[in-house]
Subunit: 345 residues, 2 copies
């Protein structure tokens, strides 16, 4: 099988010769080639310059020998069409201003983002052209509505998501309006990525685990399900990644995503068992090695990877990945050893 055939078959729970593999944040600071580009350009410059975004995407995928390339992008690029200023202070996380806190601010948000994020689809088209039809599949990229909303409301990362939850609970109509508008904007953004040649679309709901199951179901799931439906209308698979959501995995499955990306806080076999009891056929799974294992040396990482592959043996519908992004301190040699181990080289 070609990598594209292997990857798309796994997304659709069809038989594969071996599980496809790629890694969250495979283009990142752990890799010297990426650091060399970052030395000359800011994170946002790379994201907003299709030639650079394509370059780091392609370099990482080829250097590692993985089965898919995810477009290099940032979850917060939609800040621009939404009218928020975005900056990354050195050594700190992102800062967005002004934070979105009131119904009036939400009422003024646009529902469609026009060509403001064309940089991402242009980068996808470049990567697609580079690999060609027989080469690696390209995965599009966007934040899920809840995670994007939480950044906009908090004005950056958050420990306790106090303002997000305050809006959600105390102003439910404003919350729903915000989620509806973000869903509409994200749908257009993902459609552009699909039209540019993305083979699959990856939604990051990195902060879903900040919520209780009830709040997730009531205030997040309906919008997320709608976005998955709109994004999947082009006929390509949607991968929905969440973290900390093992307590309500069944609700996560109700998004309707073809593939669920899992963090490492649940075993693949427990996830399959719970999902199979809840929905037939269960979605494909992607994950979920603890990225910290890559800092304990290649033997520890490969032993854990083999244990995961053993849980997946005999199943179609599995994509090997980490449970979260590669940590910047990770030796690239350990990452390469992991990929060889998963590929069975």
């Amino acid at each position: 099988m070609t990598p594209r055939q292997r990857f798309l078959a796994a997304c659709r729970c069809r038989p594969v010769d071996r599980p496809p593999v790629w890694l969250l944040r495979q283009a990142g600071r752990y890799m010297a080639e990426y650091r060399a580009v970052r030395a000359r350009h800011s994170l946002l410059d790379i994201c907003r310059t299709p030639a650079l975004a394509a370059e780091v995407t392609i370099t990482a995928a080829e250097r590692l020998g993985v089965d898919a390339a995810i477009i290099f992008a940032d979850l917060l690029l939609p800040a621009a069409p939404l009218g928020l200023e975005l900056e990354f202070a050195a050594g700190e996380g992102p800062r967005l201003s002004p934070p979105l806190r009131t119904a009036e601010q939400i009422a003024r948000l646009p529902e469609q983002w026009g060509g403001a994020l064309d940089c991402v689809s242009e980068a996808i088209a470049r990567v697609r052209a580079h690999f060609g039809p027989g080469g690696l599949p390209v995965i599009g990229f966007a934040g899920a509505p809840f995670t994007l909303a939480s950044y906009l409301i908090e004005g950056g990362g958050s420990r306790n998501f106090i303002e997000t939850k305050r809006l959600l609970h105390a102003q439910p109509a404003a919350w729903d309006e915000l989620m509806r508008k973000l869903t509409a904007g994200l749908a257009g953004f993902l459609e552009q990525q699909a039209a540019a040649g993305a083979d699959a679309l990856h939604l990051f709901d990195s902060w879903a685990g900040a919520l209780s199951p009830d709040d997730y179901r009531r205030a997040v799931l309906p919008h997320t399900r709608r976005l998955v439906e709109l994004a999947g209308a082009a006929g390509i698979p949607v991968i929905y990644f969440s973290t900390g959501a093992a307590g309500f995995l069944e609700a996560v499955a109700e998004t309707g995503a073809a593939v669920l990306g899992l963090d490492w806080r649940i075993s693949l076999s427990a996830a399959w068992e719970r999902l199979s009891r809840y929905v037939q056929p269960p979605p494909a799974l992607q994950g979920n090695l603890d990225p910290a294992l890559l800092l304990a040396g290649p033997e520890a990482a490969c032993a854990a990877a083999r244990a995961m592959l053993a849980q997946a043996r005999g199943r179609s519908g599995y994509i090997f990945n980490l449970g979260h992004g590669i940590l910047p301190e990770t030796p690239v040699e350990t990452v390469q050893a992991l990929i060889r181990c998963v590929r069975g080289d």
Copy 2:
């Protein structure tokens, strides 16, 4: 029923007139009385001065009208008998030095802590004497071995627990030795608290959710189970609180704790369903309202509390609590409204 009868009956899954209620971090910065004490004394001074620790413990429990008082203490007090320097820098988390990284350091750790933490049992004796046999039960307090180990190894709080996981994976013998020694020391500490009059013992495994199920089972569970066994030998119930562990709740139940404290990332009904399928009889549950709800106003908090109580209706073995500590920004009036709502006043 007296509060003590109600609380102990719930811990043992026996019938109660209504679910008992207390709140994680009920003595804390959200409360003016506590802030007044903190204005004159450091956190560690309060912990190390039995009269002050007893005062803030008692004041909070009486002001709120809860059914139990947890002794005011800090998870990191064992740093002293273990030979690490502990300080709290203003606005930052705890700092421990030197961080514990090598087998040689671990070999030098004491297994018994002697009288170094007598301050905690003395504070418990004072609270017990204040309330008397007909008054509130007193809950003892300690970190669980994994969470304590992670602070010692990282030298403070951590985002990715890289050094902890590196030791766990790359030096398994040193890891086991560390966990064995911490378990022995914690067992002695908890025995002292029981002897001083604690009615129950609360173990905080706040960072359990940093681990994969496999790592938890292999490297943490055996030691935690041993500690629960030793701590419970005095015949009083052990409450084991973990966060982020909903993906491996079944393994958490294998600690053997009489009560499992849950964070808000799983519903009570889902937890009961999974545990009942796994072990008979299932342990009692404690939790698990999202503390951020207390910042969305009394109506939102009480509505969510009523939904939780509805899930618990008809079950013995339930203690109402939050899923994590009260946030410092919380209005005390909202906390009081929540307690009234749960008590059915």
